[in-house]
């Protein structure tokens, strides 16, 4: 039986970061990846916000295979054949020196670099090895089992990702509910770099992220489009229970979404090079009790560390943050030679003190909006109809905004619901 001080399951951003920091501090670390190469099983939208990434990997933007700086953000409401957009651009952001606030990445390219950093720091990376179970003795995780091989470790860092098969198998967490999980489906669409620059008004140093609401066949969720270097990542994220109730197939929803006139002109002429899917947890603080136990810590998506504030869906940077906090906790436990649940619980404290974790607290009301179908079925159309009327010139005299809104909303949504929903949205975002 092999022995390491630390066994890390999964070479995504959470696992690779924990492995990197622990190996750098001189611990013996085994980083186990089930894919034939890191990233080969991983799917993201994929924007990574760089605040923490830059602290852990100074100058990463010089060498990491990132796709494109994301300097522009569009929020788009899609009506039947119309769209209303709110578009952010800022010259100082576009011309700023790196690191930029966010980059688009493709995981099959980005994750091998991260894992490479862990390897260079002294971690042992094994790929194409699937951990079958956590080895548990006397209610304590003491290692991992992969086929006939057993690896003993003082502490296991579980970075197995969103499905958390090992944690569920060991009954360290309960079953998931379809009301708390979304399905993301995505196409990577190749488009010449020059075409991307023309279509999105960007250069090599700038790029755009679009968050879109509406036109998802009535399914609660939204669409996204990110500019990569010479491709686009285009997808839809749909709540699993809503998807099931709709009876519509995921690829149908993505197909309809791509066929919307506003979206189709952005992807026109592109060549699909990959179709992918991934489940995304709603995330949130109520799950924090499952972050660690005797002999283990849970990081990244396996810990359901996802932040959805309606306009951004963040997972990768939370993964990095949790990898950092876990590494700190494991080092602390290592110094005291105590890997019990209470010793490792400093992980929870470190995590709670980070800004991203506090963001989860700030935006926790988002779920009430996300489960309100009017935001996906009615308001995008309504916004388009009202905006159209604002600019229209008729034979009859014009009316003011409130009257237009009342006329267009008639029969679709009550005034009371409209006010209530506006207040709910304001509570999540503004107040």
């Amino acid at each position: 039986m092999e022995e390491f001080e630390v066994a890390v399951i999964g070479a995504g951003p959470a696992g690779a970061t924990a492995a990197y920091l622990l190996a750098k501090s001189g611990l013996s670390v085994l980083l186990i990846e089930r894919g034939t190469y890191p990233g080969s099983k991983n799917v993201s939208g994929g924007l990574i916000y760089t605040e923490v990434l830059g602290q852990v990997y100074p100058g990463f933007w010089e060498e990491a295979p990132i796709e494109r700086p994301i300097t522009g953000h569009d929020i788009v409401l899609l009506g039947g054949d119309a769209a209303v957009a709110l578009s952010f651009r800022k010259a100082a952001v576009e011309s700023a020196a790196p690191p930029h606030n966010a980059y688009s990445v493709l995981r099959a390219r980005f994750d091998p670099w991260l894992a490479g950093r862990a390897e260079a720091a002294g971690a042992t990376l094994v790929t194409g090895v699937t951990v079958d179970k956590l080895v548990i003795e006397n209610d304590r995780v003491v290692g991992v089992q992969a086929g006939p091989d057993r690896v003993a470790a003082n502490v296991v860092v579980d970075a197995e990702g969103t499905r958390a098969l090992l944690l569920r198998q060991a009954r360290l967490i309960g079953p998931f509910h379809s009301g708390e999980v979304s399905l993301g489906i995505k196409e990577v669409i190749r488009l010449p770099e020059g075409t991307i620059h023309e279509r999105f008004l960007c250069s090599r140093q700038t790029g755009t992220a679009l968050t879109m609401i509406g036109h998802t066949l009535g399914v609660s969720g939204g669409g996204f489009l990110y500019t990569n270097r010479d491709s686009l990542s285009v997808g839809v994220v749909a709540k699993l229970d809503s998807l099931h109730r709709s009876g519509r197939r995921p690829h149908e929803i993505l197909g309809e979404f791509k066929a919307h006139p506003f979206v189709s002109r952005l992807v026109e002429g592109g060549e699909v090079v990959e179709y992918s899917a991934q489940t995304v947890h709603q995330g949130g603080l109520h799950h924090s009790s499952t972050l660690c136990g005797d002999g283990y810590v849970v990081v990244g998506s396996a810990a359901r560390l996802i932040l959805n504030n309606l306009f951004t869906l963040r997972g990768m940077d939370l993964a990095v943050v949790s990898g950092v906090a876990a590494a700190q906790a494991v080092l602390e436990a290592h110094r005291r030679n105590d890997f019990s649940a209470s010793a490792l619980s400093v992980y929870r404290d470190y995590l709670r003190s980070t800004p991203v974790y506090q963001d989860m607290e700030t935006f926790r009301g988002a779920r009430s909006v996300l489960s309100n179908r009017r935001f996906f079925e009615i308001y995008p159309d309504l916004a388009c109809a009202v905006t159209e009327e604002l600019f229209a010139v008729h034979k009859t005299p014009s009316t003011k905004l409130f009257r237009i809104l009342r006329d267009k909303a008639k029969g679709k949504v009550s005034g009371l619901d409209l006010v209530r929903d506006a207040a709910a949205l304001a509570r999540v975002l503004a107040i």
Binding site: F176, G179, L240, D241, R248
Partner: protein
Amino acid sequence: MTSERSTLDHLLGFDKFEIDRSSHITIDQARCASCPQMPCLTVCPAGVYRQVHQNVVAAHENCLECGACKISCDSDGNAGITWRNPSAGFGIIFRFG
């Protein structure tokens, strides 16, 4: 139905798979036969699950390993799906991700 299937086949054709001979998905037919909702038939983005006569059959070779089927099955279905990771080296191999 045919065109819907072919659209999906077309999409899956862009993906790289290392196909395992044995399936990582096991179906408990007794449970599935009495499942009133069968969410797996709807939510799977790769159309892995189909109903053939009384049985649910899984085309495991198309699985994108997203985890949607298992979650929906456990919470809205009849817990008839057992889903493991494919054997090491097999399954979907994302080249972009």
